[in-house]
Amino acid sequence: MTTTTMTHDEAHHHDAPTGWRRWLFSTNHKDIGTLYLLFALTMMFLGGASAMLIRMELFQPGIQLLDPDLYNNLVTNHALIMIFGAVMPAAAGLANWMIPMMIGAPDMALPRLNNLSFWILPAAATMLLLSFVVPFFPGGGTQINTGWTLYPPLSVQVGMSMDFLIFAIHLLGISSVLASINIIVTLLNMRAPGMNLMKMPMFCWTWLVTAFLLILVVPVLAGGVTMLLFDRHFGTSFFDAAGGGDPVLFQHLFWFFGHPEVYVLLLPSIGVLSHVIPTFSRKPLFGYNSMVGAMLAVATIGMVVWAHHQYTVGMSLGAVTYFMIGTILISIPVGLMIFNFIATMWRGSMTFETPMLFAVAIVLMFTFGGLSGVMLAVVPADMQYHDSMFVVAHFHYVLMPGAVFGLFAGVFYWLPKWTGHMYDERLGKIFFWTNVIGFNITFFPQHFLGLAGMPRRIVDYNVMFTEFNVLSSIGAMIFGLSHLLLLYIVIKTIRGGQKAKSRSWEGATGLEWELSSPPPFHSWTVAPQIK
């Protein structure tokens, strides 16, 4: 068996497939990483387009562009596309590209599984889009007006588009579980000799934890939506109170997945930051060990505090108190990470290239989102904020800087490595400023809207909320359109530009910078020795 694998590898090396076969049959971690990133970029524009439609509708009170069900379907799609279609594949793309290069391996441990886990994604995306398209046809049933949380009983009553969505979630789940297995097997078995776990680059650590989180929680979501499917078609009553079930059970299953999912989105970006900030501060990362510990603590506590999304369902006082304290506890390790980043920058010789600008923005704005999270964690306060625009503002402040800006930072940081060309620094900076300013204009006013009582997921609003909504919508247009500049920069960098050195950034450390830019087809054919 070993010999056949070896010959297979050899054959690949000399006769790499070209044209469409190169991509469809690819077992190469870099090609698959590229596919992941391109897929994520496409989905980001789809999800962004639905968000811009939402904000156009909310530009004025009253119903202008979208009827209420369509509006809510766009809300659902925006969330699912962004989370499962954009952020997770983008993080997986970074992992595919960087992990073998960082740990001194030739490729991922399970290259064919890698191919499968990517190529499930386009199928899943098609299913997801079908769920949106189907209601426009006669007999297509109602639109998915539940939001991404898919709470029954409403989700049981939605038409056949919900079935497409459930299967899309199954496929997306299978894809991310397979990718996670691959990443863990790679990290545990293919590190260069001498690289023990505590010498592993931070990005690899964050992905190790992320992959374990995914393996633990995604199957539970799959189980939950499977039960939903059974309730819809096979007469079971898992979530039907009239048949002895309980709709709140779905909420528990969903958030058992949904809360750790937040850390799944966040941690890879924390990993990127742990490389970007030391590079541009020209200092090693402050507190590597505490960083690993903090991350493990976040992941562990994060697994057991899911019900803070459900304070209003009427749990007992003991239960809500537990979930409140657990949630607030998470701010301690997260705070530790933030302090480590600040301490890394402290007295470093800092320069502010685009990745570093994003990194500094994350430290500032993610902290802000974390603080509004502590507000939401407090039970009596949450009774007021629950399902208001304040929640929308909070989680966009956490997820945009926490996850997406981290991915942007990673893309700008490693783009020279991937393409062999430096990106246009001036355009990168313009992109950063329009993006960050647009983001803040969009979401900062939503805090005030929420505190004043504007509910989320509703197509219309009271006239008194008009001014802040106008502001937010204008911001959203700036923010949304700024991503076209990102697209332009990426295409421009792929097509040409100043030649990148192996060590593209002056202060960069790590095995990936020992390889040429762009790196060879098989990253490390001879494993490097780590002292």
Binding site: M6, P219, L221, S316, G318
Partner: protein, 197 residues
Amino acid sequence: MAADNQGNKKRTTLLLGGLVALMFGFGFAMVPLYDLLCQVTGTQSIAIRAGMGKGPAVTGEIDKSRLITIKFDATVNPNLPWDFGPEIRTMKVHPGEIYAVNFVASNRSNSSVTGQAIPSVAPWQATPYFSKLECFCFTRQTLKGNERTDMPLRFMVSPDLPAEIRSLTLSYSFMRLKPGQEAENETQTLPAIAAIN
């Protein structure tokens, strides 16, 4: 290197695959476990909701082993020119025993004004266990210009109050009734208010 590594990879992959299957099963195991967990720990909302329908049983037994702190809170809507508040702010009570406390209301204006007090109990889970035997909130109150009056409240906390609740707050908001509502037949609005209580 490749030979032993292949074995390791296979083992790790199988272990992780097993973990995935286990967690998928865990989701389904939650269905019976969730009911069980809720029965054991009382984490369940349904038990409380069911209790709400029954209301407290007046057993006449006094639970001397427990002391519940009751805090009184009073708010007056700005549309009502009254001062209103409890004579004492907090009380420690035994469940099952009947207590009385006076609220004082005075009309700052020169004309006769009618108001109605809306009670609420926090935490809301305690609501069904707090019974008001006599309360000024049952009826609308009319105060003549500059009149001052004592408004008595007699209440009891049910011995069935969940053990985790050690203190609760009774809050009153006094609202002005519009002149039209004052003239209305009392019996029409009373059942609605009684339902709140």
